[in-house]
Structure formats: structure tokens, C-alpha cells
Amino acid sequence: MYNAGDLKKGLKIKLDNEPYTITEFNFVKPGKGQALYRCKLRNMVTGNQFERTYRSADTFEPADMREKKMQYLYAEGKKYYFMDSENYEQVFLAADQIGNAKNYLIDNTEVEILFFEDKPLEISLPNFVDLIVVKAEPWAKGDSVSGNTKPVTLQTGYQLQVPPFIEEGEKIRVDTRSGEYITRVKD
């Protein structure tokens, strides 16, 4: 159990059986009056946000979250399927829960999925993934000015800027946090 005094930005709590994360927090207290804990909360399932003010005597249940290692299988419509490699159980996340992660998912990518009870909520990717370039303009020889870039398309459909010497069929490493090219990868 958490007390009002434990509330802070980023804390995850359970309200009416749903998980919420505190996105903004402030402690206010009229000089002679009682302490008030003003929170902005986001429902981790629906994304809905609202504000609420709590008092010192209020208590909160922690949201029971756990992370599980899973493998990406495939996408069907707006559903992205993952499999628990230990028990072969499958779950899916909706496209809006996946967000930008879809740019980096290929078959068998190992990811961590955050669960609330048995509901999958969020995906966290490895910081770096290696992906194949499926479309690139040919390298115009002589264009060796450092800092020049060209757009390429990866096997996931993701487009990004890379150095001009990268060619179709090559594999590159991408930082999933920034979405940027890191280096060329030789198998």
C-alpha cells in the first residue's frame, strides 16, 4: 500500500482495478489547513487523463506490473502478436499501444512487454536493432562530403536518413530510442 506521502511523478497505482501512472504531481497545503496532493493521472490501458486531489489519509494500491520477455511473431491488421518463448502463449498489442516500435519489429525480435495482471500494456525494445535496407538510391560516386545523407527504406517500412555509401541489401544498426542510424553491420 502507498500513502499519499508516497505519491510522485511516475508512480503507478491501481484505481477501480485499472492501472494509472502519475504524469504530474504537486503538494499543496494552505498554511493552517490540510495537505493536498494534486495529481494528473493517465490510464495505462485507455490513455485517458484526468486530475485528482488526494488527502493525507488516502491510501493507494500499487499497480501490479511485471515485465515478460517475448518474441515478436507477426502483425495482422492493427494487431501485433507476440509469443512467450517459455510456454508458447500468445498475446497481442494494438497499433496505438505499439506506437513507433512498429518501425523496428521483425520476426523473432526479442522484446520486453509490460503486463498489468494479464493485460499487455507497453512494449520496450532493445536499444539497438539490426535491419535490412530494402530500398536505397545508388551511391553517386564522388559524393563523399562528410555529413551528407540520403533516405533509405528498411524491411519494416521505416524510412530514415543514412550516409550515402549505404546500399540496398545491406544491414544497418538503428537506435530505437532516437530512430537514428548508428552503423553498418557486416554479417
Binding site: G5, N26, F27, V28, K29, P30, G31, K32, G33, Q34, A35, L36, R38, T53, S56, A57
Partner: protein, 307 residues
């Protein structure tokens, strides 16, 4: 080394803060106030409804110097002031530190109305000493310091800004919430505002108003939506004082809060205390205003998180 960078950037606000404190001392010494120091570590803190003391061995760190300063008044001191640290359990937010600096002064023979004027003069004196001019910027607002400042009774403030009347707010136990969330943000937006005449609700040491027993002679100063000071005509009636302490202690026991011993020495001295008024002003918060700082962290050297 992030800390070093944070500290280095605070130098400007710390210079202003130091200048402010020098101005406070000059203001009071020009008016023949005696600067006093009373112990931080005491045996019995004021049994307040919503202020909790930090224990220090079998004793406590004071939450304000009020009781000791009133014993000085009772002993015949006419005008006294003190700048000291106060300690309050669990108070931490953008305008709260569990250890903060308080300016507290007492003036024998006046009531809260004259006290409000004295407070106006003090803040104006500090502003002119810092070379601020008559309008200061605070969090995107322009605060005009020209006197006299707005005075608004608590009842009027509820009529102007609250979704519920004062009576309903008290009945539904939402007074503090309405005050903090709906009223305070509007107070002192263009110039400082005194809120005055509080319902008999949570203060323990304030005198009831003579011609309206439904309120007490208490005032709070707001600047830019932030409470900066709290003052009152002091309660000098021992029987009433004892009753107030008892009620507050009962409340604390019901709420499972720590029960403090009764402040016996203070109660013994109280019959000798003359009529007086006293103000407590948050020095850190005033420094936030004079340095246009959004957080109390910006005007102190170290916050508890960085010690």
C-alpha cells in the same frame, strides 16, 4: 557534478535573498524591534490540527517560534522579531520544504489590521532596498506593490472565486481544497492581497473577532497566487486557549497523529501577555517572488534531496 552546476546557477538568487534578509533586519531595527533567538528544540510544540512536528530525541523541533516569542511578550517585551529555521514533517512541494526559513514578528498593543499595514510597509521597504521599482514581474504576471494592497474577506473570496459558498465548503469539509485549488490561484495576481476574517476552523492561537464571533482575526498575504504570510490578533485568554489546545489534541488523537504534551510553561505565562498581533512570513517564498523563481528549490542552497 550536476549539483555543482545547479548550485552555481543559484548564485544570483542567493545574493537577492541575502539582500532581502539584510533589508528585513534594517526595517525592524529602524522601528526599535529587538531581534531575538529562541530554541529550535523544544519540549512541546503547538498542537496544531494539520501541522506535524519532527521529533528530536524526546523533544521536538519547533514548527514555528510562536510559543517562546509569546512568553517574551508576556515578560514585557514590546516589539520582537526573529528569523529562524522551522521544521514541518512531510511538507515538500514546489512551495514547501520540510526545513524552511521563517520571519516572525510580534507587536504589542496592535491588532491584525495594523499588522497588515506593517507587513505592507515591510515588503515595500524590501522592494525599494533591492531597487525593484513599484511593479515586479512574477511568473509572467506584473505585481504592483503600490499601497494600499487589496483586502478581501474570506467570505468575499468564496463569493468571487469558489464553486461553493463558504458555508457549503465548510459543511462538506472542502474548505482547504476550495481555498487551495479554486481561490488561491486568483489571489495577488495584479498586486498583493490580504485575505482576512477566517471561519473558526483550524487555527489554534488566534483571537475571535469581537463584533462577529463566527470569524477570527486572522489574515494571510497572497502574492502571485502564493501564500506568503499569516498573521493574527493573538489569543490572550487562558481558558479559551486551553480549550483550543484540548480540541486540537483530541482531533490529533482521532486522526492517529502524534499527541504532543501540553505546552504548560506557555499556558502559565499567557495571563501576563498583553494584547498583541503577530505575523509569520515565509522568507523562502518572498525570495521566490523577488527573484521570479517558480520553485522554492531555486532560492535555497540545498534541498533535502541533495544533502
Amino acid at each position: 557534478m550536476e549539483d555543482g552546476w545547479v548550485l552555481a546557477r543559484r548564485q544570483g538568487t542567493l545574493w537577492t535573498r541575502a539582500g532581502m534578509i539584510q533589508a528585513v533586519r534594517r526595517f525592524f531595527s529602524e522601528r526599535c524591534y529587538l531581534e531575538v533567538e529562541t530554541p529550535y528544540r523544544i519540549t512541546a510544540p503547538v498542537p496544531e490540527y494539520y501541522i506535524d512536528a519532527v521529533a528530536s530525541g524526546n523533544w521536538f523541533l519547533h514548527t514555528s517560534p510562536e510559543l517562546c516569542m509569546k512568553r517574551l511578550l508576556a515578560a514585557g517585551y514590546l516589539k520582537i522579531f526573529q528569523i529562524c529555521k522551522c521544521f514541518r514533517e512531510g511538507e515538500r512541494g514546489s512551495c514547501h520544504l520540510p526545513e524552511f526559513t521563517m520571519l516572525e514578528w510580534y507587536h504589542q498593543g496592535i491588532d491584525y489590521r495594523l499588522l497588515m499595514e506593517e507587513c505592507e510597509e515591510l515588503v515595500a521597504f524590501i522592494a525599494s532596498d533591492l531597487g525593484c521599482g513599484e511593479v515586479i514581474p512574477y511568473r509572467g504576471k506584473k505585481i504592483a506593490l503600490q499601497m494600499p494592497w487589496e483586502r478581501l474577506s474570506v467570505r468575499e473570496a468564496f463569493e468571487c472565486y469558489a464553486p461553493l459558498s463558504l458555508g457549503e465548503s465548510l459543511e462538506r469539509k472542502r474548505f482547504d481544497e476550495i481555498m487551495a485549488c479554486y481561490i488561491a490561484p486568483h489571489l495577488g495576481e495584479r498586486g498583493p492581497t490580504f485575505l482576512y476574517d477566517y471561519p473558526l476552523y483550524s487555527s489554534v492561537l488566534t483571537r475571535t473577532k469581537r463584533d462577529d464571533p463566527s470569524v477570527e482575526e486572522r489574515c494571510e498575504l497572497y502574492i502571485g497566487g502564493m501564500e506568503v504570510a499569516n498573521g493574527s490578533s493573538e489569543l490572550a485568554d487562558v481558558d479559551k486557549q486551553q480549550l483550543r489546545f484540548e480540541k486540537a489534541r483530541q482531533f490529533r488523537r482521532l486522526q492517529n497523529k502524534m499527541d504532543y504534551p501540553a505546552p504548560e510553561r506557555f499556558l502559565e505565562a499567557l495571563p501576563a501577555m498583553p494584547e498583541a498581533a503577530g505575523m509569520a512570513l515565509g522568507v523562502d517564498r518572498l525570495a521566490m517572488i523577488f527573484t521570479d523563481s517558480p520553485a522554492i528549490d531555486d532560492v535555497v542552497t540545498f534541498t533535502p534531496e541533495y544533502i
